[in-house]
């Protein structure tokens, strides 16, 4: 079997999902003028809660919901700290990441007796979609949620008044404020929303990609999401394409590893090397929404 094939395409699509959710989530935060480097922690936390709720209730749907809600929960925390109390965005984001790692390990130990992994739970069921399935492969509902999100966020950002206002809030809050836009409300709402969307990435990892929680299972995909968002120039479609690139390196890495051409340690580096290249601005110059400072009304 060749390296490039339909199955590789499907693997790429699957592997791009968590990165895509993080990228879209991060995009909403940054459009509101908040850098959310806590994406990794949010995702891990959501992955954990998705499994925990499924474990307790027996229903992966309840797990799904809990995963998203725990993302929203952390989003509210970030929003309050960075927007309401003008906390430093980098410090808060780092805090969330550290919290995500520590909290999930601690709880995992308490519940399943191992810090490394949870027991296996029921994953989300595969969705039967005739025709589409042949191209996209067998998938859970999350992949369709992702497609819907891309389209909806594009329409929202560029074709509705509220999208226009959100963009203005991120670029120049003073201007938005003078134009009568409630800057703080927009920031609070979209930081929360973005974190919730990021949570979907965690749900994908623990209930669709796998069906258990493993410590550190996000393995940097939150940061890849951040890179994909920058590479995608803060647009939904851009985020999608950039995530596909990350999905591709990930899928390729698995293939090449299976073929045993290169030492696996080197191959595992692929996605991270791409992340570093993008984050350090090697690939294309990108202009971020300009104002990351907390906005304080005079």
């Amino acid at each position: 079997m060749g390296i490039l094939s339909l199955s590789l395409f499907q693997a790429m699509l699957r592997m791009s999902m968590p990165v895509l959710f993080a990228a879209l989530g991060g995009m909403f935060c940054e459009r509101a003028g908040v850098v959310n480097i806590g994406l990794e922690g949010i995702m891990l936390n959501s992955a954990f809660f998705a499994v925990l709720a499924t474990f307790l209730s027996g229903s992966p749907w309840i797990g799904f919901l809990s995963g998203v809600l725990s993302g929203v929960g952390l989003g509210v925390v970030i929003a309050i700290l960075t927007v309401k109390y003008s906390g430093n965005q980098i410090v808060v984001g780092t805090g969330i990441n550290v919290f995500g790692l520590g909290f999930s390990a601690f709880m995992c130990q308490k519940i399943w007796g191992s810090r490394g992994a949870s027991g296996s739970v029921a994953g989300l069921p595969l969705l039967r979609v005739p025709y589409l399935e042949q191209v996209l492969g067998e998938n859970t509902i999350l992949i369709y949620v992702a497609f819907a999100l891309i389209i909806l966020s594009h329409l929202f950002l560029f074709h509705t008044p509220w999208g226009l206002r959100l963009r203005a809030v991120g670029e120049n809050p003073q201007a938005a404020d003078t134009a009568g836009v409630n800057v703080h409300r927009y920031k609070m709402v979209f930081v929360t929303l973005g974190s919730g969307i990021t949570g979907l990435g965690g749900v994908f990892l623990s209930l669709a990609h796998l069906s258990f929680f493993a410590w550190g299972m996000t393995s940097g995909r939150g940061f890849m999401g951040l890179a994909a968002m920058i590479f995608g120039k803060w647009t939904p479609l851009g985020c999608f394409l950039a995530s596909l690139l990350f999905g591709f390196t990930d899928a390729l890495q698995m293939r090449v590893q299976a073929l045993g051409i290169l030492p696996s340690q080197i191959i595992l580096l692929f996605p991270y090397v791409v992340t570093i290249l993008v984050l350090s601005g090697f690939v294309g110059k990108a202009l971020p929404p300009s104002d990351y400072k907390p906005y304080e009304k005079r």
Binding site: H159, A168, E171, N172, A179, G180
Partner: protein, 503 residues
């Protein structure tokens, strides 16, 4: 007489500052009303209160006789009040029409109706005779056009009382003329305009009446017909201000500084092309021209912030083309940067820190290997504060809290606190009030009459002509001609527009 806007007993204080002290203001319907006053007199604060950005401590505001409570800009907009700020409040990455409709977007269902928005704005353009590309991104527009977007933004919101806070400081003379034309046209359409400026010439061209503030208090209101530049300046400052200063002696033969055939690369800006000139002792050399024709680049090249591709710079007979900024300063080059907030001073440093900036590593400020000698420093700072009449509570006050005029004095004091042979002054009085402008002009002339050389780069032609011994005109990165300051305005206009006087 019907009043569009009235203010009664308005008071606003900040910790330690009484910015507005029981101010009364009456603006008649359909007039252009000027607000004058020195830096820090309280003009911007007064306007910000009227526009709902600050809450007053006391006093009331009446719009067309009705008392209104204005707690936010959107309430001000609802009362028909619009404001163009000293620094523009636009979103640079968004398009012109998006900026205009922001906050009041026409929509169908949940979607933006771009077409309708455009049509509405085009109607507005038609009515007012303004023109602009609605699809351009604001960041790509020159300041003059950006300001036009702000004006349209106000009109789109139905404002009938328009406040302009120093709209002309950022404009080129051409753009100022255009703005004046538009403002007069808006007045004709029945709009009421409040106009703030330090340039008396603009005030006389536009205003029907003016109100003068001094240190937070109202001095008086008068019709412009009954005023003269001298009388207004005296009302503002509380003493006579000299608009025409004696020039002093003629330049000497001796060349202090020369630029010889200098060209630069067009990285981030205009390239200089074969620029040559000499400045002599006892001379102020003016460099005129429409902004954006290489003034910034010329200044940066002289100071050493930009690489020279060809040609050389000679100071006191020594080639300084490849010397570092520091080395140039040591050899007697002083510099008043055009952007005093970004290059001139560090706003969040104290007056004292700003005064020693760049000289902190030399005795007597430095003692031993590393340490600053504070007693010397304090003495050094307070003597400069005294000498340059810097109005500050003390050396440890943050420069940010000083008025524009005093910030500029800090820069000037620092630059002149060390032996100077040539001073490069870039837009030295931009945004400064009449008194501070007079002070700076006196200082420049004083320097010249001590036998130093001064290169004065300014967009303000009046300033150039009042001070310079010779004037060069910069156009598209080249020196396109030389004029004497007595040449008439028409000739300056020609050269600044790129037509040489060769024929």
């Amino acid at each position: 007489m019907a009043f569009a806007l009235q203010v009664r007993g308005l008071t606003k204080s900040f910790p330690g500052v009484l910015a507005n002290d029981h101010i009364d203001l009456d603006v008649e319907e359909g007039e252009i009303h000027g607000i004058l006053g020195e830096n820090g007199a309280g003009k911007s604060v007064l306007m910000s209160v009227i526009y709902g950005l600050y809450r007053p401590d006391e006093g009331k505001i009446l719009v067309r006789g009705q008392e209104v409570a204005i707690g936010s800009p959107s309430q001000a907009i609802r009362c028909g009040i619009g404001m163009v700020h000293q620094n523009l409040t636009l979103v640079p990455q968004l398009r012109v029409f998006e900026n205009i409709i922001l906050g009041q977007e026409p929509r169908r269902g949940i979607f933006l109706e771009r077409q309708k928005a455009r049509r509405r704005i085009e109607e507005l353009l038609h009515q007012t005779g303004l023109s602009i590309d609605l699809n351009a991104r604001v960041r790509d527009l020159p300041i003059g056009l950006q300001q036009r977007v702000e004006i349209l933004k106000m009109l789109y919101r139905g404002a009938s009382i328009l406040i302009f806070d120093e709209p002309t400081t950022v404009l080129t003379p051409q753009e100022v003329d255009q703005l004046i034309t538009y403002l007069l046209a808006l007045k004709k359409q029945g709009k009421t305009i409040i106009f703030i400026s330090h340039k008396l010439r603009e005030v006389f061209a536009l205003c029907d009446r003016v109100t003068v503030l001094r240190r937070g208090k109202k001095v008086g209101t008068c019709a412009i017909k009954e005023a003269t530049p001298e009388s207004l300046a005296e009302m503002m400052v509380g003493r006579r201000v000299l608009f025409e200063l004696p020039r002093g002696r003629k330049p000497a033969e001796e060349v202090v500084f020369s630029v010889e055939g200098v060209s630069t690369l067009p990285e981030k800006g205009k390239a200089l092309r074969e620029v040559s000139f000499r400045v002599h002792r006892y001379e102020i050399l003016g460099i005129a021209g429409v902004e954006g024709n290489g003034q910034t680049e010329l200044a940066e090249t002289i100071v050493g912030l930009r690489r020279v591709r060809q040609g050389k710079l000679v100071l006191n007979g020594e080639d300084i083309t490849y010397l570092s900024v520091k080395e140039r300063i040591k050899r007697g080059l002083a510099h008043i940067p055009e952007d005093r907030h970004r290059r001139g001073a560090i706003l969040d440093f104290t007056v004292m820190e700003n005064l020693m900036l760049g000289f902190e590593d030399e005795p007597p400020l430095r003692r031993g290997l590393l340490t600053l000698h504070f007693p010397t420093l304090q003495e050094f700072a307070s003597s400069l504060i005294r000498e340059f009449e810097i109005a500050t509570p003390g050396g440890d006050t943050l420069v940010r809290t000083l008025s524009g005029g005093n910030q500029q004095k800090v820069v000037l004091a620092r630059e002149l606190s060390h032996p100077v042979s040539v001073l490069l002054a870039c837009q030295p009085t931009r945004g400064l009030d009449v008194a501070a402008t007079e002070y700076l002009h006196r200082k420049l002339l004083e320097l010249k009459n001590q036998g130093k050389a001064v290169v004065l780069i300014s967009a303000d032609l009046d300033e150039i002509r009042a001070l310079s011994d010779r004037v060069l005109v910069l156009y598209e990165g080249r020196i396109i001609g030389e004029l004497s300051p007595e040449s008439d305005e028409y000739q300056f206009g020609l050269l600044m527009g790129g037509k040489s006087l060769a024929s």
